[in-house]
């Protein structure tokens, strides 16, 4: 009886394993297209610029979603288990949802530290790296620096170059193609930068308030000054006392624009806007935040369009 039951217990396991084995269909890989999964749409957009039609790219988070709070849905595992390369934003942006997905994926290629795991933050200029002791009294701080680093064309270029090199390393026969794509992207980006700089030139030095700290790289590149945040601390919802402080500060420093990411509630920003006589602008931190914003260039076009309008209206 004892032995029989043991055998039966093993039987359950063996049966499951057999079941899995029997329907284990070989993954029909299309003619060596690199299968790339990115954590966010911005990384997907940059990877698409250099990857062209030699790679297939899928992003886990949507552009209109708060990238800190993505749900680790099992459907993402279906993408991840087939991936040759996983590109993450890094700096602990995805710490709340990506690690369990990677562990559960059963895909050795994209485990942290494996060849198919690419942390794009290594290529970019990182701001807001906290100095000294970091505690949660500061809110949800990122000890390694601000992970919202892609809204700077220079960083975009650096990331794209890093991704192109990675593609070339993983698929050497198309290496020249990826480098060619990067050179082309570089050129288009440079001429777009000229345009953006001309549009923004008149507004250098203008002051803004943002909801979350997702704007420092953009502000640095275009010479804007972020004087405060709607959140009292990163990740902590607005409080009445902080809101009053911000309103007073904005009046004092004549700051007339409040920038809000599309995934935050507009109630507090709007009351700040009313009190401080400022415009509330729902800007996009990511590609895909609105339907018409489908690539890295359109992201800047969209945001700069909104900003110049708001700045000129609050002259």
């Amino acid at each position: 009886m004892k032995i029989r039951s043991t055998v039966r217990s093993f039987g359950v396991l063996a049966g499951l394993a057999l079941l899995a084995g029997m329907i284990l269909s070989p993954v029909a890989a299309e003619a060596k297209k690199l299968n790339v999964v990115t954590a966010t749409t911005d990384m997907a957009a940059l990877a698409q610029e250099v990857g062209g039609d030699k790679v297939s790219i899928d992003s886990i988070a949507k552009g209109y979603q708060d990238p800190h709070f993505v749900e680790a849905k099992p459907s993402f595992l279906l993408k991840l288990r087939q991936a040759d390369l996983l590109i993450v934003v890094g700096l602990q942006l995805e710490i709340g949802w990506l690690p369990p997905l990677i562990t559960q994926s059963g895909n050795a290629r994209v485990q942290v530290g494996a060849n198919g795991y690419l942390d794009a933050s290594q290529f970019a200029e990182i701001l807001d790296v906290p100095q000294g002791t970091v505690t949660r009294a500061m809110g949800d701080v990122h000890p390694l620096g601000n992970p919202h680093y892609w809204l700077d064309p220079d960083n975009g270029r650096r990331i794209a170059r890093g991704i192109a090199n990675k593609f070339a390393e993983m698929d050497p026969s198309d290496g020249a193609y990826f480098q060619q794509r990067f050179q082309d992207f570089d050129k288009r980006l440079s001429s777009a930068e000229q345009k953006w700089n001309t549009e923004m030139k008149a507004y250098r030095g203008r002051k803004v308030v943002t909801y979350h700290r997702s704007f420092p790289n953009f502000a640095k590149y275009f010479g804007l000054e972020v004087i405060g945040y709607v959140e009292p601390r990163p990740g902590i919802p607005p409080t009445p006392s902080h809101t009053i402080e911000i309103i007073q500060q904005m009046k004092r420093e004549n700051c007339r624009v409040v920038l809000v990411e599309p995934y935050f509630d507009l109630k507090t920003p709007q009351s700040i806007g009313r009190e401080a006589n400022a415009q509330v602008v729902v800007y996009l931190p990511s590609v895909g935040g609105e339907k018409q914003v489908t690539n890295y260039f359109e992201l800047f076009d969209y945001d700069i369009g909104l900003l110049t309008k708001a700045f000129s209206a609050t002259q």
């Binding site: 217990s9 359950v12 899995a20 949507k62 708060d66 749900e71 099992p74 290594q122 949800d140 220079d154």
Partner: protein
């Protein structure tokens, strides 16, 4: 590490005057060549950013463990991996020096072996502690609970072990002592998409059994857990587990899990499985199907089976069958403000004992709605007969309100009504305060 940094700084400092001289001489002969100058400055900036990034990578690579026995080789690999990434950003001349710095730093990290200064700290696992304080008001003669208790403090230690596995430890310090709630290694790099765990773990039977106390949407666990699945500790045992994603029609996630345990599970008061001999192992099988209906709504469905020997002896089996279903809604644009989770779990227990086999059934259904960024309102209906006396049935209901000051603490109040078998009615008010320190790894969905 300090050596690397020093070397990099010197390299950069040496490079800057060189550029300065070149830059200085250029405009003298050729005034309007500002563009070339700008280009050079930009290249220099790029190199600096690349060096900074490389430094961050080096720091994190020091944190990643070097396989024992082959430190030299691993370091060589690290250096080789980082070299190509370095070469491209630094186009003009520079990569030899930087690459040299990298490999020098690598060797140094190897000899240190993570023993000195900040390097040792970097090798520490993620450590977290979760406090769980519960106060109970109201009289309950069937399942009495203390008025105030530090119910459970959970310590977590989590890290990547080596390129092939990660490790997770969860120790719970309760009022009675310390218990290894979970402690297992997960092999993440197995061939053919298999993921295996070895150690002590909460088994994959249903939904609520897999959840730690601090991620439950309630203060307590449902009646059916207490009556049929071994109480608070539930099906939690030492053994091994294998899971794999199965091929399925497009858009459906299908995963099978098979687990084999020693055969001891459940609380001291509610033993579920008892192993009286080495061959009294228990087994658990779980099949999970998941589908996104829209980007904000999804369905999660599970079938579970467990069998093991009960406290009557090796010849007496207990078998459990379970169905669980979850529907979730979370609009992506407002994901931090509103969500809904509806869930039901139905469990059948078949317990061999003298004089008669007992067939019991129990279930709970629950719903939790997020009212705002910090507020959650939920309810649960419970009904379950008892595994040892299947004709005794308990039922009840709860209303729960939860407030989150931040992601790292929560306050919860729960009103619980229970009508135990024999018409014993209880009304209780449970209050809970939970707080978390440190880096607690994210939980599976």
């Amino acid at each position: 590490m300090r050596g690397v940094f020093l070397f990099l700084v010197i390299t950069i400092l040496c490079a800057i005057p060189g550029y300065g001289q070149q830059a200085g001489s250029a405009p003298a002969s050729d005034q309007p060549d500002n563009a070339a100058l700008m280009q050079k400055i930009r290249d220099l900036e790029d190199r600096l950013v690349a060096v900074e990034g490389q430094l961050r990578v080096l720091k994190s690579q020091q944190a990643a463990p070097v396989p024992p026995g082959a430190p030299e080789q691993a370091v060589a690999q690290e250096a080789a991996q980082s070299a190509p990434a370095e070469q491209a950003p630094a186009q003009p001349t520079p990569s030899p020096t930087v690459a040299a710095a990298t490999s020098e730093g690598g060797t140094q990290a190897g000899t240190l072996g993570g023993a000195g200064g900040s390097a040792a700290k970097a090798l520490n696992p993620d450590i977290s502690a979760i406090g769980d304080f519960i106060g109970v008001a109201g009289h309950n003669p069937v399942q009495p609970s203390p008025s105030l208790q530090m119910h459970e403090s959970e310590l977590g230690f989590q890290a990547i072990i080596d390129p092939y596995a990660r490790g997770d430890f969860f120790l719970s310090f309760g009022e009675e002592g310390v218990n290894l709630e979970e402690g297992y290694i997960t092999f993440t790099a197995l061939p053919a998409g298999f993921v295996a765990k070895v150690g002590k773990m909460r088994s994959a039977f249903g939904k609520v059994n897999t959840l730690h106390n601090h991620v439950l949407p309630w203060v307590d666990r449902p009646l059916v857990t207490n009556n049929l699945v071994g109480g608070e500790d539930g099906l939690d045992d030492a053994g091994l587990s294998v899971e794999r994603i199965l091929p399925a029609p497009k858009g459906i996630f299908l995963e099978a899990t098979g687990q084999l345990f020693r055969g001891d599970s459940g609380d001291a008061q509610h033993p579920l499985f008892v192993s009286s001999g080495k061959s009294d192992v228990s087994a658990v099988g779980h099949l999970r199907a998941y589908k996104d209906l829209t980007e904000s709504t999804n369905l999660d469905f599970g079938l579970s089976y467990a069998r093991g020997h009960n406290d009557q002896g090796s010849n007496f089996l207990t078998q459990l069958y379970g169905i669980d279903a979850t529907v979730r809604w979370k609009p992506l644009r407002r994901s931090i403000y509103h969500s809904f989770v509806g869930r039901g779990e139905f469990i059948w227990s078949q317990r061999q004992e003298l004089p008669l086999e007992q067939k019991a059934f129990g279930f709970y259904t629950s719903g939790d709605y997020q009212l705002g960024r910090r507020w959650f309102l939920g309810g649960r209906f419970d009904r379950s007969s008892r595994s040892e006396f299947a004709d005794l049935t308990d039922q009840g209901g709860s209303v729960v309100l939860t407030y989150w000051p931040s992601e790292f603490s929560q306050v919860r109040g729960q009103y619980r009504f229970t009508r135990y078998a024999g018409n014993i009615d209880t009304h209780e008010l449970l209050l809970q305060l939970m707080f978390s320190l440190g880096a607690h790894g994210a939980h599976p969905f």
